[in-house]
Amino acid sequence: MPPIIAKEKCNACGTCAEICPTDVFRAAGKRTPPLVKYPEECWHCNACVLDCKQSAVTLRLPLPAMMLHVGAGKSKSLSGGKGEKGGVRR
């Protein structure tokens, strides 16, 4: 959230508003890019980005949805251990 429409690329075809599974957009008029009316209802499915023929839509993921990650570091078991074969525990 929210989808961001680059106005200079958008040709106001309305596809994003038409196909959004959560009805985030409202079509604003024939020559106007759709309005991102309910940005907090975005599901991050990416349909609007995938279906925009003008590549005018991008998603900005909200901070609460940030992916948490750490460096891999050492991991002794991942190199295999006693009683383990082919990465599968027996």
Partner: protein, 556 residues
């Protein structure tokens, strides 16, 4: 007053929800000559939990698995989708699942991207595998085209808000048009109705508090089938059992079984008993069959738990990324790319998400029919069977076929205009739109979530808590109905969804009170024993003459 569209539609088979189950029902029904309408809340090309793709399809392929289906039935029951099936449903599903796979392959969904049927991931070591790996990013486009090809009329942006019955039989339904800012009701005379509204989300707080739409499954799917079926007099089953999904912590629109890695603790020790290094063939099924592992590890203080893909072969990494794209996770992949999250060097924290309804809900028979004549259900809202995409495809097909057959024997449509249920809904929708002040749907939905979390959650459940929760929820529903306010067609739809969710919540509380034992994630603090005598017993709830009848039955 909210306007009612002057044109009443007519359908032999009205399909409610154009997801995988709904489109497959429509395709089969139309193929048999039925006049079919799909009423869809969004647009069938991109709606529901399969909107941008999936990559695993449970099925039985005799040439791969052998002629004896029994071991595959057993695997299905032990998998993440098993547990609360009627056995006869599992068997019928498996018998027909390969036919649906072949249909999809023929129609242009790549069910064997490598040229052969491959069962990769979601797998136990040394056991038969049941999850066919496929490339489903175009599945909704293909199924929509197939439905249109057979003459199915697709009404997008028309969520169905009520099924109309007369003398115990389906006669039609009421839709809410959200095409324009101003809402309008649309009436549909129907000989049969197939409910296929998907999973029920937004019942419990999401993994990000206050961020209601951060859900693994489509947050527009909100228990419509369960609520409408229940109000129409059908039975709901297995509603007391919470189900949780898991995946990257705080980013719920993502998968877990497509990852090729090992779930590990902070020291890199595997947390599950199945794999010790990334294997494309198996994945790490720990997250499927023991997804409380993330919560268990966290509570024990030994967390967090990570998806560790380090050591993955380059070709397997490519395979995994392709799988994630076809599963519909392109937003996540782009984010990872932008943030420099390279899984060869970074471990991603995984977590268990909030409970939601999938495979808990409407009881159907082997033909997909409910206890109400002419009312069918398919896919995720079914309560006595679950196989996710494959279940929706297969039982959607079955329900659509059964509905078409029944419709052939019904000569006339019945008039629904002016019926009491239409008048009630017209009045109620008009009231919501006319109120100048009052709580928004968000307030009502959040209030519901906190009650569900605290009184019917997965931490503590007991007679006293569940009873209190039931009282509070009923109070909340009364207040919401009496005061909630909508501004436009979109928020009116959300208000009605919230009421459906409250009705699902009420049934969950009643069922949870009835099951006086601990089983799965239904943890009764006052009944900690898992009673073997109740292992194959299901609880059904049905509304009759204003009362809720609660019954036990044997697993079939």
């Amino acid at each position: 007053m909210i306007p009612i569209d002057k044109e009443t539609l007519e359908a032999d088979v009205l399909v409610v929800g154009g997801g995988i189950g709904g489109l497959m029902a429509a395709i089969n029904a139309a193929g048999q000559g039925a006049r079919v309408i799909v009423a869809e809340k969004a647009n069938t090309k991109r709606s529901g939990s399969g909107a941008t793709g999936n990559d695993h399809f449970v099925c039985y392929i005799p040439e791969i698995h052998g002629r004896d289906m029994d071991p595959i039935v057993k695997e299905l029951r032990n998998s993440m989708v098993g547990g609360y099936h009627d056995n006869c449903m599992s068997v019928k599903f498996l018998e027909q699942s390969f036919d649906r796979v072949k249909d999809w392959q023929r129609w242009g969904i790549s069910m064997k991207p490598t040229g052969k049927w491959e069962f990769i991931g979601h797998a136990f070591p040394g056991r038969p595998r049941i999850f066919l790996k496929y490339e489903g990013s175009n599945q909704k486009l293909v199924l929509t085209a197939q439905a249109r090809k057979r003459g199915v009329r697709i009404e997008n942006h028309l969520p169905i808000i009520e099924v109309i019955t007369r003398n115990g039989e389906v006669v039609g339904a009421i839709g809410l048009s959200i095409k324009e800012e101003e809402p309008a009701l649309k009436l549909i005379r129907a000989k049969t109705v197939v409910l296929a509204t998907g999973t029920s989300n937004r019942l419990y707080p999401s993994v990000s508090p206050g961020w209601m739409f951060n859900t693994a499954f489509c947050p527009s799917c909100t228990g419509g089938a369960q609520a409408m079926a229940f109000r129409a007099g059908a039975k709901l089953v297995n509603m007391e059992f919470p189900n949780k999904h898991a995946g990257p912590k705080y980013f719920a629109r993502a998968g877990k079984a497509t990852w090729i890695g090992v779930l590990t603790d902070p020291q890199g020790e595997p947390v599950g008993p199945f794999v010790t290094k990334p294997t494309k063939e198996l994945g790490d099924i720990t997250g499927d069959v023991w997804n409380s592992v993330f919560t268990d590890m966290y509570k024990s203080g030994r967390g967090p738990t990570y998806m560790d893909c380090t050591g993955i072969a380059e070709k397997d990494l490519k395979y995994m990324m392709n799988g994630l794209a076809h599963e519909g996770n392109t937003a996540m992949l782009k984010y990872m790319d932008e943030e420099g999250i390279d899984v060869r060097r970074r471990r991603v924290e995984f977590a268990q998400y909030e409970p939601f309804l999938i495979g808990r809900g409407v009881e159907i028979d082997l033909n997909g029919e409910t206890h109400v004549k002419g009312l069918y259900a398919a896919g995720d809202p079914v309560g006595n069977f679950r196989a996710d995409i494959a279940g929706a495809a297969t039982f959607g097909w079955i329900a659509g076929g059964s509905a078409a057959k029944r419709a052939k024997g019904i000569r006339r449509f019945q008039k629904i205009e002016g019926s009491p249920v239409v008048k009630d809904h017209t009045r109620f929708c008009s009231k919501l739109m006319a109120r100048e002040n009052g709580p928004s749907w968000q307030e009502a939905n959040l209030a519901l979530q906190q009650i569900m979390n605290d009184y019917a959650g997965t931490g503590v459940r007991s007679e006293t808590l569940l009873t209190a929760g039931l009282t509070y929820l009923r109070d909340l529903k009364r207040k919401a109905v009496a005061t909630m306010k909508a501004d436009d067609s979109h928020t009116l739809m959300r208000c009605l969804e919230t009421i459906d969710l409250m009705e699902c919540g009420e049934v969950i509380l009643l069922a949870a009170l009835e099951r006086k034992e601990t089983r799965g994630l239904h943890v009764r603090s006052d009944f900690t024993f898992t009673n073997p005598l109740l292992q194959d017993k299901f609880i059904t709830l049905q509304q009759a003459k204003g009362n809720v009848q609660i019954e036990w039955r044997d697993r079939r």
